[in-house]
């Protein structure tokens, strides 16, 4: 569905992306992952058409994104920002309805089917009860769900999320990732940036790991995430362990609290 081939990009003469190749298929939840400064955001913005890569090809459903207009791109890919500040108190319903914009024509008057799509999207992430609430008073987790509902309402083949859970508490992180898992299972391709290797290990089908510069590993996280890989990208800061049949990444040298260990 999304196919990235031989992508190169440099910024201020520093190579950020080098020879990136990967693809995301229908129904896959792909975690894009790597340390700070490894080019996650740049790759992300290239895929969305916000910046034009120096070399290489990005395709959606075999169409070159350089040949798509802004409107056509928006019909193929939806984008969920990491954080959204809203200066005006739009209601949740209105925010979700805005996702229908690439399908509206003329004076952009939302039609019955747009309203219906917005309602379905809100039901799918379980925020129908918030429809009339102003977006700006919601909690961080609820706001993220609204933005995801907007992306669903956009009715695209793919959804890109920029660190969807970076500002959320533990419960909301799980809630958002589970929602993403469910959306992917219903046939949408998802590419999500994350800083937390555990999220990728627990929820994603496939992963793209970036080091600097270039691709370090890709594929099923349960196979890809090895002690060697973690040592390479995090310089020995963490250990790969197991819980149930999942991998779990722990900080290395973790001991119990020193005060308790000393028997105080």
């Amino acid at each position: 569905m999304l196919k990235v081939e031989n992508l190169y990009h440099a910024f201020n003469r520093r190579t950020i992306l080098e020879d990136i190749n990967f693809s995301v298929e229908k129904g896959q939840l792909c975690g894009l992952f790597g340390p700070n400064g490894s080019g996650k955001t740049t790759l992300f913005q290239c895929c969305l058409g916000f910046i034009r890569p120096d070399k290489g090809m990005i395709r959606f459903l075999d169409k070159d994104i350089r040949k798509l207009t802004i409107r056509e791109t928006a019909q193929h890919v939806a984008y969920v920002p990491q954080h959204h500040t809203q200066p005006f108190p739009f209601q949740v319903e209105e925010m979700v309805l805005m996702g229908r914009t690439p399908h509206m024509r003329g004076f952009y008057k939302p039609a019955k089917k747009d309203q219906a799509a917005a309602r379905t999207a809100m039901e799918r992430v379980g925020i129908s009860n918030l429809a009339r609430e102003p977006f700006d008073i919601l909690s961080g987790g609820q706001q993220q769900l609204v933005l995801i509902a907007r992306a669903i309402a956009q009715g695209t083949d793919m959804i890109f999320l920029d660190e969807p859970t970076s500002a959320l508490d533990f419960r909301n992180q799980t809630l958002v990732w589970k929602a993403l898992r469910q959306i992917a299972d219903q046939g949408t391709g998802i590419l999500a940036c994350s800083h937390d290797p555990n999220h990728v290990a627990w929820f994603c089908d496939t992963t793209v790991v970036l080091g600097s510069p270039g691709l370090v590993a890709k594929g099923d996280p349960s196979k890809v995430f090895s002690q060697q890989l973690m040592d390479e990208i995090y310089k020995g800061a963490c250990e790969v362990s197991h819980a149930m049949d999942l991998k779990i990444i722990l900080p290395s040298g973790l001991t119990r609290h020193p005060a308790e260990a000393a028997g105080c």
């Binding site: 969305l48 058409g49 916000f50 802004i70 409107r71 791109t73 928006a74 019909q75 890919v77 939806a78 984008y79 920002p81 959204h84 500040t85 809203q86 200066p87 005006f88 108190p89 739009f90 209601q91 209105e94 805005m98 996702g99 914009t101 690439p102 509206m104 004076f107 952009y108 008057k109 102003p134 700006d136 008073i137 956009q154």
Partner: protein
């Protein structure tokens, strides 16, 4: 105070659900207020008579010969163009204020932010100081208003994009340059010209006539309709450039169209009536408070409220004392406490 604000918001919720009814009511209110305001003044004329006189002029089949010629002169030659000019200025300033606030994602932006007012002020000051110049005061003001915004926009543009921070900064820069230039003109001007410049800067509808109306009507009407047709896009633009792009709206193209059109409208208003503050800043706030943030409603509501506000302020300006007070003073004196009220009650939610 806090409780009152809440009760007010509850009452206003009715209008958030019934937007068409609210807008129609507002339009009727503007028409009624216009009739009342045209009756008020040095010579009081009942509103019904005002309506009758205007009707006799716009309907082709009745010449209103039983109305006194004095009424014809006062209503049709003096007060009607003045009221129309106030309405159109209100429409231009308030709707372009709403557009600027939407484009800049910032509810504290006003249409003068890119230097329109200081540019116009310099143009007008030049025109007043050199009356023999081939362009009129109005045209000079208009030309310099556009020049200032053009400068600000060009300065802000880097690598095919116009980031908001750049735009605001370059607006401040051009604004201060032209303010300094106005200072030079004021310093060099003779007493008479200086007095005239100062009066122009405070804004007013003193010399309103049918020529001004015919010059401004197309700009106000066509400009407003195009802005209104971009209402939904403005909602999307207020999400920020990246999200707008991802939602299929080209931010650069649409912001350019909207900003140039609002600049045109602001410049047309400023060049014919001078610098009238506060309308473009606070009226869109009032519109959002009443009708919610959807720009498809905020734009017409701002236009109507702006018209209403300027009609009332101008009537106060010309009737409060023996001589006329510049209307800019009235709009600020009434506007500032209102914004204070807004800031205090907004703490809960707007």
């Amino acid at each position: 105070m806090k409780l009152n604000g809440k009760a007010l918001l509850l009452k206003l919720d009715f209008l958030k659900q019934n937007k068409t009814a609210g807008l129609t009511g507002l339009a009727l209110l503007v028409a009624g207020t216009a009739c009342f305001c045209m009756g008020t003044g040095a010579k009081y004329i009942p509103a019904a008579m005002v309506g009758k006189t205007i009707f006799s002029h716009i309907s082709g089949f009745w010449d209103g010969s039983d109305i006194s010629p004095l009424y014809h002169t006062i209503i049709w030659k003096i007060r009607t163009p003045r009221a129309l000019l106030a309405i159109m200025t209100g429409v231009c300033l308030a709707s372009s204020g709403a557009v600027f606030q939407g484009c800049f994602k910032n509810p504290l932006v006003e249409p003068y932010i890119l230097g329109t007012s200081s540019g116009a002020a310099f143009g007008a000051a030049l025109g007043i100081m050199f009356p023999s110049f081939f362009m009129s005061v109005q045209m000079l003001a208009f030309a310099f208003a556009f020049l200032a915004v053009g400068l600000a926009y060009t300065m802000a543009r880097t690598r095919g994009e116009t980031p908001l921070v750049n735009l605001i900064l370059s607006g401040i820069i051009t604004g201060s340059i032209f303010t300094a230039l106005v200072g030079i003109v004021k310093y060099l001007a003779r007493d008479e010209a200086l007095r005239e410049i100062v009066f122009w800067l405070m804004g007013g509808f003193y010399y309103a006539g049918w020529t001004d109306v015919s010059l401004m009507l197309p700009v106000a009407l066509v400009g407003f309709l195009i802005l209104w047709s971009h209402g939904w896009k403005l909602n999307i633009l207020s999400m920020g450039d990246k999200e707008a792009r991802a939602l299929g709206i080209d931010p650069e193209k649409n912001k350019f169209i909207l900003i140039s059109l609002s600049t045109l409208m602001t410049a047309a208003a400023v060049s014919s009536v001078g610098i009238i503050p506060w309308v473009g800043l606070m009226i869109p706030h009032a519109a959002r408070l009443i009708f919610g943030p959807d720009h498809r409603v905020v734009l017409p509501a701002s236009a109507l409220l702006g018209a209403l506000y300027l009609l009332i302020c101008d009537t106060i300006a010309r009737t409060l004392t023996q001589t006329e007070i510049p209307v800019g003073i009235i709009t600020s004196l009434i506007g500032a406490p209102y914004l204070f009220f807004l800031v205090r009650t907004r703490g809960q939610r707007m």
